[in-house]
Symmetry: C2
Subunit: 345 residues, 2 copies
DNA sequence: TTTACTGTTGCAATCGATTGCAATCGGACT
DNA sequence: AGTCCGATTGCAATCGATTGCAACAGTAAA
C-alpha cells in the first residue's frame, strides 16, 4: 500500500484543519472552498473537483461549531427524559428506551443529530429552560411528562419547537404525541370484564398523568358495568416492583380476580409473583398489561395487553417537531391503542 | 404577581441575547460580563452580583456555540451504536439500551452532554471518522464493536479520546471495556455440563466477536470435558429470532440436552419455544443465558444466566474516557462475569 | 472597439464568547 | 507630592466557517 502510505505522510506533513489551510493549498480563497464543499453554490466544476480531491486526501472536515455559530442553527435535536416519580424508572424501562431508538432512527434519517439528556427535575428546577436556552439544540423532544406537566406547559407558550411524548389533556398548551391512554384503559377493563372478572385492581402508580388516564378509563368502564376497581400503588423501580406486588397480593388475595397493570413491565413481574403463588391464569385471575413489549408475547402464559405503536409515535414526534421548526403551530397527535388478546385474559 | 409581570415585560422589551447586550445594560464591557458569569475570574464581587442579577432577570444564557468555538471544546461526548450484523438488533436490545441509560447518568454527573448516533456501517463507510472529525464531540464512546473491529482499531491509532464497549482481543490497539466473554462462555458451559448436559448447542450469531468469544469459551470447556457442542446460528432481530429457534428445535430435537444462548433475549425466546413444545426445563433440556437482564429472573422457570455488570461497565467507560481526555493512554478494562444460578440449569 | 452580460471568485464583515495584555483607579508608602 | 502596587476592567484579537457584495475575466452582441 505505498500509495496509501504516501498519502498518510502527506496528511501528517501538511495538517489541514481549516478552510483557510485548504484554500492555501488549492490556491483559492476560503470562501470558494466553503462554497465548493457546500456543493450548492456557483463554483466552477473543475475548481470544485480539485478542492474536493484535496479535502478527501487530507481527510478534511469543516469545523461544525464555527459553521453552526455562523448559521445560527445546530442541526441537533435535544431529547430530554425527565425522571420525576421514580428516579430509576426509565433506566430499565424498555418502552422509553425503544422509543428512543426509533427517535434516533427518524432523526438520523432527517439529517439531525440527537442530544440526550436525562434530567431530575427535583434537583434541577430549571432543566427545560436550560436545555432550550443552551443554544445547543434547534428543538426539543421531551419523553414523558412525568410530574412536569405545568412547567412544560408554561414553556410551550414561548417556545415553538418542542414536542412531548405523553398524555393529552383538555386545554393543554404544549404539543403532545401519545396514545389515548384513557381509551387503552377502557379496552383493558372491558377485556377483563368480558373474560369474567368482577373485582378489578389497577397495578401501578396513579400519579403520572399517563397512568392516571389509564386508570380513569378503566374506572369508567368498571363503573358502567357495575364492577369494582381499586388502585394498588406500585413503583416502576425494578428492584421494588416485585416486593410491592407480592405485598399487595398477600394482602388482597382472593379479593380480586382481574388485574390491569399500568405497564407490561409490571405485568410481567406480576405474572411471576402469581406463578410463585400457584395462582392459575387466567382461570383464577386475569391480567392485562399495557405497551406490548417484545417480551410480552413470550411470558407464560403470553400476556394479553394494550399495544402502543412505538414506531408511529416516534415518527409522529419527529414529524411534528420538524413542522414546528418551520414555524407551523401543530396540533397534538393522539394515537389509538389496540387490544392484543393473548392468554392472560 | 405584578412583580413577575413587570419582569416579563422588561424581558420582552429589551431582549438580551448576547454578552454585549447585557454589558450595555450593566454599563461594563462584554469581557467583564463573560468573566462574571464564568464566575472564576477576578471580578469585583459587587459587579458580579449586579451582572448576575441582570442575567437572571432577563433569563440570559451565553451562546454555547460561540463559547465552544472559542474554547475549542464542546463538553459533549459522542456515543455511537454501530448496527453491523442485524440492523434492527439494538433497537430492542435491552442490554445496550440499559448501558446507554447508565452512560447518560455517568456523563451527566461529570458535566458532559451525550450525543447519540446510530450508524449503519454498511451504508456509511466513514461513520467513525465523520463522528470524530465533526468537531461536535470531545470524545467518543462506541457501544459494541459489531463487525467494525478493524476500522475502530485503525482509528484508535490517531485518536486518543475513544473508548469502546466490547470484547478484548489479544494485541488490539483500541481501549475497550467489557466483560470477559470467553470466561462467561466457560461458566455457562460448565454449569450446563455440571447439570448433566452432554450434547450442547450455542444459540446465536457467532460473527460478532463478543459472541464468538462466548462460544469459544464454551467450546473450550466442552472439549476438555468430552462433551459435544454445536452452533445454531440465530439472529437478534426480534421478529426472526422466534422462527429461527423453532426451526432449529424442529430439526435437532432430541439431539441436544443443553442450550447456551448468546444473550438473555434469545434465551427468553427459546424458553417460550420450548414451553410451546412441552419440553421440560431443566430436566429434559437445560438452558443458560447471558447478560442477566431484569426479565431473566421472571421467566418461567427463572433463567440461569451469566451476569454482566452494566453499571460498572458504564462507569468504566466514562472513567477511562475522561482520563483519555486528559491525555492518558489507558489500558482496557475487562470485567469478570458472574454465573447466576436459577432454575433452567 | 465598446457595451453588456454571465459565470466565478475574492474580500471582508459577521456569528458571540473568551482571554492575554494593557490601562486605569484608589490607596499606601516613602 | 511622587511612586508603586494590587485589584479591576477595557480593548482587541481570536476561534473557523459563511455569505452579501464587489470585482473580475471572458464572451457575445452592437
Amino acid at each position: 500500500m505505498t500509495g496509501s502510505d504516501a498519502q498518510n505522510l502527506a496528511r501528517s506533513a501538511t495538517k489541514v484543519r481549516t478552510l483557510a489551510d485548504l484554500a492555501k493549498i488549492a490556491g483559492v480563497s476560503p470562501g470558494t472552498v466553503s462554497r465548493a464543499l457546500a456543493g450548492n453554490s456557483l463554483v466552477n466544476a473543475k475548481t470544485r473537483e480539485k478542492i474536493e480531491a484535496i479535502a478527501r486526501e487530507h481527510g478534511f472536515r469543516p469545523n461544525q461549531m464555527a459553521s453552526k455559530l455562523r448559521r445560527q442553527k445546530t442541526g441537533v435535536i435535544g431529547v430530554a427524559i425527565p425522571l420525576g416519580h421514580d428516579v430509576r424508572q426509565q433506566i430499565s424501562d424498555t418502552f422509553f428506551m425503544t422509543l428512543l431508538g426509533h427517535l434516533a432512527d427518524e432523526l438520523t434519517e432527517k439529517g439531525y443529530d440527537l442530544m440526550l439528556r436525562r434530567v431530575i427535575p427535583a434537583q434541577d428546577e430549571d432543566w427545560l429552560d436550560r436545555f432550550i436556552g443552551s443554544g445547543m439544540v434547534d428543538g426539543v423532544i421531551v419523553i414523558g411528562q412525568s410530574d412536569q406537566f405545568e412547567r412544560i406547559d408554561d414553556v410551550a407558550d414561548g417556545y415553538l419547537p418542542m414536542v412531548v411524548w405523553g398524555n393529552h389533556q383538555e386545554g393543554q398548551r404544549h404539543c403532545v404525541v401519545g396514545s389515548d391512554n384513557r381509551l387503552g384503559g377502557k379496552l383493558a377493563a372491558e377485556r377483563l370484564i368480558a373474560s369474567g372478572a368482577k373485582r378489578l385492581a389497577f397495578l401501578g402508580d396513579t400519579q403520572p398523568i399517563e397512568f392516571a388516564a389509564r386508570y380513569a378509563g378503566a374506572k369508567e368502564v368498571a363503573k358502567k358495568l357495575g364492577v369494582s376497581i381499586r388502585a394498588l400503588p406500585t413503583h416502576l423501580a425494578p428492584d421494588r416492583t416485585g416486593e410491592e406486588i407480592a405485598a399487595h397480593l398477600g394482602k388482597i388475595e382472593g379479593e380480586i380476580d382481574g388485574i390491569f397493570a399500568a405497564t407490561d413491565t409490571i405485568a410481567v413481574t406480576c405474572l411471576k409473583e402469581l406463578r410463585d403463588r400457584s395462582i392459575a391464569i387466567p382461570s383464577q385471575l386475569k391480567v392485562v398489561g399495557f405497551d406490548d413489549l417484545p417480551i410480552s408475547s413470550q411470558t407464560a402464559p403470553p400476556l394479553t395487553t394494550v399495544r402502543q405503536d412505538i414506531a408511529a409515535g416516534a415518527k409522529g414526534l419527529v414529524d411534528l417537531l420538524l413542522r414546528r421548526l418551520n414555524g407551523e403551530d401543530t396540533e397534538s397527535l393522539v394515537l389509538p391503542p389496540h387490544l392484543i388478546v393473548r392468554e392472560t385474559a
